[in-house]
């Protein structure tokens, strides 16, 4: 009898246990990014830019260079790093409060400039770290601590579809929305992020991958209910799939 380990924690993750809540999508996405950095052999040539939000501690978990930007400014910090280190794989990793609220200007101009970057956008439809306030992505009718009666279109407008919006820029080359609710969707998400990384490495240009991500703690749901909520409700408003792919 011979035993072979066929799945284990990637080298691009440290041994530190994720600070994220149970069933949080951040953990899954951190993991698949680390697996990809291992598979691409890029551990010594990657620089990530972490957001303000629950993922502010990403540098504790990723075993490759990671810096931290002021709230919402990750795409411009990534722009600067990439221009100075064009041979490195540079990506920003941002929540929906970070990217679509306080950082809306930075992401739009970075996309419009068509920087050769990969942006990973974690859409959990609220501000996780600060206790579940309404985000630009919060669904119509969704109850949060700052929309206790549910998001109201008259007062708050419609949930912003960042992927569809950014896909309109000529300078944006690749946009895909994925989710990480079961093994099959995790495999698809990993493929999409890999494509975003490869696009950068072969000079194709700006890639944007949106991940529908569970925030069980603030949704007041157990992880399996949060998973069903993404599959049954959130992905109806934010459909998963390829949005744009230009060679």
């Amino acid at each position: 009898m011979a035993e072979k380990i066929v799945y284990k924690k990637p080298d691009s993750l440290t041994d530190k246990i994720f600070s994220y809540c149970w069933g949080c999508g951040h953990s899954t996405v951190h993991k698949i990014i680390a697996e990809l950095i291992d598979e691409l052999g890029m551990r010594e040539k990657t620089i990530a830019v972490a957001p303000v939000g629950c993922a502010v501690f990403a540098y504790d978990f990723w075993n490759f260079d990671t810096t931290e930007a002021a709230h919402g400014r990750a795409p411009v910090v990534a722009t600067a790093i990439k221009r100075v280190h064009p041979g490195h794989l540079v990506f920003s990793y941002q929540g929906d409060g970070d990217l679509a609220s306080i950082g809306m200007a930075e992401i739009i101009h970075t996309a419009n400039r068509g920087e050769n970057l990969t942006i990973i956008f974690i859409n959990n439809t609220n501000y996780g770290m600060t206790g579940g306030q309404m985000a630009p992505t919060t669904l119509i009718g969704q109850k949060t601590t700052t929309s206790p009666a549910g998001r109201n279109i008259k007062q708050n407008g419609y949930p912003i579809k960042m992927s569809e919006m950014l896909a309109q820029f000529e300078s944006v080359k690749y946009v895909e929305r994925v989710k990480v609710t079961n093994a099959a969707s995790v495999i698809k998400a990993k493929k999409a992020i890999k494509k975003g990384f490869l696009n950068q490495l072969n000079g194709t240009g700006f890639s944007f991958i949106e991940v529908l991500s569970a925030c069980p703690a603030n949704w007041r749901m157990e992880p399996l209910a949060a998973k069903a909520h993404i599959d049954g409700v959130i992905s109806k408003y934010y459909p998963v799939g390829l949005i744009k792919d230009i060679k």
């Binding site: 035993e3 072979k4 380990i5 149970w22 069933g23 993991k31 079961n182 093994a183 995790v186």
Partner: protein
């Protein structure tokens, strides 16, 4: 048929049970013990039907599952 088993890291597991829902062989269950963070971690049933498909480990957010494939090399 391939055979396998998994090792669940009791400290990393947060008991989200995504692996329990994912396993096609029902080889993982909600455990009865609590780790030092207060989470009731999952347990491997070890009923002999695990085939090292890795689906549980792929869906595990916390990298708490290691999958081991067991091969009987004499027969090869």
């Amino acid at each position: 048929m391939k055979k396998g088993r998994i090792r669940i890291d009791e400290e990393r597991c947060k008991g989200c049970l995504l692996c329990v829902e994912e396993c096609p062989k029902n080889e993982i269950k909600k455990g009865g013990k609590i780790n030092r963070f207060g989470y009731t971690f999952a347990e491997f049933c070890d009923n002999g039907s695990c085939n090292a498909c890795t689906l549980c480990a792929i869906v595990c957010p916390d990298c708490a599952i290691e999958v081991i494939e067991i091969t009987e090399d004499e027969k090869k």
